[in-house]
Subunit: 213 residues, 2 copies
């Protein structure tokens, strides 16, 4: 199976399928048709079938999908059957919030270290980590087989840090800095631009206002 | 201009245009062609022109766009020329991180209150707010003309809180709870599902791994 052929739009939808299937599994539901899944997820049944066909279909038409099997297959496709080592760059409120988010660990996302450039924070304990100075970042990444860096630093320093991360062979960057990173194509970047998301919400709220006036 | 006709995909791109134009403006750049904007934003010039045509075009073909004018127009379209009153539901790490994010205020997003159901937190000061009990939420929303609620609570309580928010006339919900809310269409919801975003990153990192093996 050549993953490269699968569009980012499909991949973006996989975690949501995974989440709904996890809930169905917890409710003890064994089988579900694409139509039933469509009703609860509010996407069309044809979209669901098309998405699943990217991965071989997962089930027989007319018999519905086996919930647990589908849950595990999608988890496997997402790579949740492996563990990944992460570091957080930036020990501010957001970095701390992510460090303390228990569910990540359950999915195999292991936060191994947290870094900051504020000397006042060095040695502070956040969950099971101590805040380390940025100078130690490169050696830490190599020694601890870190795959992924989470950037929760201001945009002014994000580009320079991203460059350092690329040089020491990081594979993915989860970017919360409010800037688009300029990294080689083989480095995967997933942006969470919180301001952009809030602006979109505000736009939609204003549009409804206009409509009702 | 009928905003309803504009697709969510276009609207999703507006904050990014706004961000780049703000940077160009800060650098003192007065005019930019769609081709130059295309180069720095890494989207096609034709996409840029198509997006802008949704709002009347903003400039004359061949002369380029006036940066400051375009910045201000997109800001106006996004509703950033108005202020909005927000509350945060959930005074945990993430709620605190958002409360302390200074840039939101600069954009007219004013956090007026923060709520939690943990009595130990009541009265704690977070920035310029004190943590209030959930019982006070409805009256606070009415008295302070709150438009938007930010949900940073676990998914188990998110659905019930969303229902209460709908009943007291909230217009938009910025949802960080790891669940899709079931609210009437006229309530705008913008989801930030952090786990989904991280899973997508992991998938892409794994795919590149496969490719290079």
């Amino acid at each position: 199976m050549d993953n490269k052929e699968i569009s980012q739009a499909v991949i973006s939808r996989l975690p949501r399928y995974f989440r709904y299937l996890g809930e169905l599994k917890n409710e003890g539901i064994e089988r579900i048709s694409s139509q039933e899944l469509s009703d609860i997820m509010k996407v069309t049944a044809s979209q669901i079938r098309q998405d699943f066909n990217n991965f071989g279909g997962f089930g027989q038409q007319g018999y519905g999908y086996k919930v647990e099997y589908l849950y595990e297959e999608i988890g496997r496709i997402l790579g949740l059957d492996k563990t990944h080592n992460l570091i957080i760059i930036g020990a501010g409120n957001l970095g701390q919030a992510l460090a303390n988010y228990m569910n990540f660990e359950r999915r195999g996302f292991l936060f191994q270290g947290i870094f900051d450039n504020n000397p006042k924070l060095f040695g502070t304990r956040i969950r099971n980590m101590v805040v380390r100075p940025m100078e130690e970042m490169e050696s830490f990444i190599k020694e601890n087989k870190i795959d992924i860096a989470v950037l929760t630093i201001p945009k002014a320093s994000a580009l320079a840090v991203a460059e350092r991360l690329v040089k020491c062979g990081i594979k993915g960057i989860w970017n919360f800095a409010h800037v688009d990173l300029n990294v080689p194509d083989k480095i995967q970047v997933e942006n969470v631009h919180l301001s952009d998301s809030l602006m979109k919400l505000i736009y939609n709220v204003n549009s409804v206002d206009d409509e009702w006036e």
